[in-house]
């Protein structure tokens, strides 16, 4: 059995677990714990080690989706999770601009770990107070070549679109490497 992996990262409560849950064929193996820090009590539980989802491609190939813990104090896990990944998705909560700087920092950290392609998913775009993509691009200081994609992690179509765009980027870089 051959396996490949994609990492889903982003700040606390950006929707990483939901993103994986939406497309995984198994219930996400989630290592969640109750949130204890008052400042982070936006939700009841959070990922402390990793989320783990699976998409079987055929009898010989499986794609694993790994979600990183969003809280900064678990960032020692990030490098381990990034080892051997095909690429990564940076989830950003479009409704919480106060997390944009952290998202940018996470992106730079992962980019330094491995020179693999990535895309940025602007999650919660279905919410009324979501920032527009163009504004987010400026706030996140994303170069025009970096793919910033609208996403609603609870819906399959936008999650699929994000994963496909990442796969297209990986393919394009492989072809560029051959040229």
């Amino acid at each position: 059995m051959q396996t490949v992996k994609i990492v889903v990262t982003g700040p606390f409560n950006s929707g990483k677990t939901q993103f994986i849950q939406t497309v995984s064929e198994i219930d996400v193996v989630s290592t969640e714990r109750k949130v204890t820090a008052e400042a982070e009590k936006i939700k009841e539980s959070t990922t402390v080690a990793m989320d783990f989802g699976r998409i079987t491609v055929d009898d010989d190939l499986v794609l694993y989706l790994f979600g990183t813990p969003g809280q900064k104090r678990f960032d020692f896990m990030w490098e381990i999770l990034s080892e051997g990944m095909l690429g990564f998705v940076v989830m950003v909560d479009s409704t919480r601009p106060e997390t944009f700087r952290e998202a940018r920092s996470i992106l730079e950290t992962f980019r330094a770990y491995a020179p693999t392609p990535f895309v940025v998913a602007a999650n919660k775009q279905d919410k009324a107070d979501a920032w527009e993509l163009n504004d987010m691009r400026v706030a996140l200081r994303l170069d025009s070549k970096i793919k910033l994609l609208p996403c609603t992690a609870t819906k399959k179509q936008p999650v699929k679109a994000v994963l496909l765009e990442l796969l297209y980027s990986i393919l394009a870089e492989m072809e560029a490497g051959e040229a």
């Binding site: 490949v4 080892e83 095909l86 700087r101 920092s105 491995a114 020179p115």
Partner: protein, 271 residues
């Protein structure tokens, strides 16, 4: 129990606070990035500081503080070779060349600056040795730590902010594609110009810092201002491989790798 640990877990500011509150006497030894710092305290006050093998002889400190001229510095170095700092300081004051205040102010500024440098050390083993006294031939000062602690806390916040913005110095910089911008029309500081002259996807920020003799905090400060001004962006270093399929795929065969990608794309489409 010895007071020892790593700066990762216990910052310089926290250590100074502890020394201040507990009115400690002794020497804080920190094995930092490539250098060892020794900072001595008496009853919770800074008495002496020395980083690495930097020349901390009194004539050099007085020259840095413009209390003596280069010619006087040269003269003292040549003629006062057998005198230690205490003897020399006494001689200069008694002969009326300098006031006692001149000497103490210069030393205080030098020691405080050394402690300021320690604020940029994010990592390093420290230990507080109560038995180690400052060198006997050095002139000691008494500097209250409160202001240094406040300054250090501010710098720590700035450091944390800059580390979030620029987590890795192993990335490179390139000028943003802004055809309308002429670099000559922009007002940059001397430090910014020095960094700008090295901006190139081939040079990592760490290499630029080394070339411009900046520490981690200083290079991050300059890069952050250049980023905020939209002049540069962070890119992967030019020489690094764009992609390493060997690690990413279970097979090293290019055709098989492409086959895997095609299968993945088809499968995701079919979800």
């Amino acid at each position: 129990m010895a007071l020892k640990g790593n700066l990762r877990d216990f910052t310089i500011t926290q250590l100074l606070n502890l020394i201040n509150l507990a009115c400690k006497t002794g020497t804080l030894v920190i094995e930092g990035p490539g250098e060892v710092a020794r900072t001595a305290f008496r009853e919770g006050k800074l008495a002496y500081a020395q980083i690495g093998q930097h020349d901390d002889a009194l004539p050099t400190i007085l020259l840095k503080n413009r209390k003596i001229s280069p010619a006087q510095h040269k003269f003292l170095q040549e003629k006062a070779t057998t005198m230690n700092d205490k003897e020399l300081g006494l001689l200069l004051v008694n002969a009326g060349y300098l006031s006692q205040e001149d000497v103490l102010d210069s030393l205080q500024a030098y020691y405080v600056d050394a402690v300021r440098q320690l604020f940029t050390w994010a990592e390093g083993f420290f230990r507080f040795e109560q038995e180690i006294s400052p060198p006997g031939d050095k002139i000691l000062v008494r500097v209250d730590l409160e202001n240094l602690i406040i300054e250090g806390s501010r710098q720590l916040r700035e450091w944390e902010h800059l580390q979030e913005e620029i987590p890795s110095l192993d990335m490179a910089l390139k000028f943003t594609d802004r055809p309308g911008t002429n670099l000559r029309d922009i007002n940059l500081s001397v430090e910014e110009w020095r960094v700008v002259s090295y901006v190139n996807p081939q040079n990592t920020m760490r290499q630029i810092a080394k070339a411009t003799k900046m520490n981690d905090l200083e290079i991050r400060r300059v890069v952050y201002s250049l980023l905020q001004a939209g002049l540069v962006e962070i890119v992967r270093p030019g020489g690094a491989p764009v992609i390493n399929p060997k690690k990413m795929f279970p097979t090293s065969d290019r055709v098989e790798q492409k086959g895997i990608m095609d299968k993945l794309i088809s499968r995701i489409r079919s979800l």
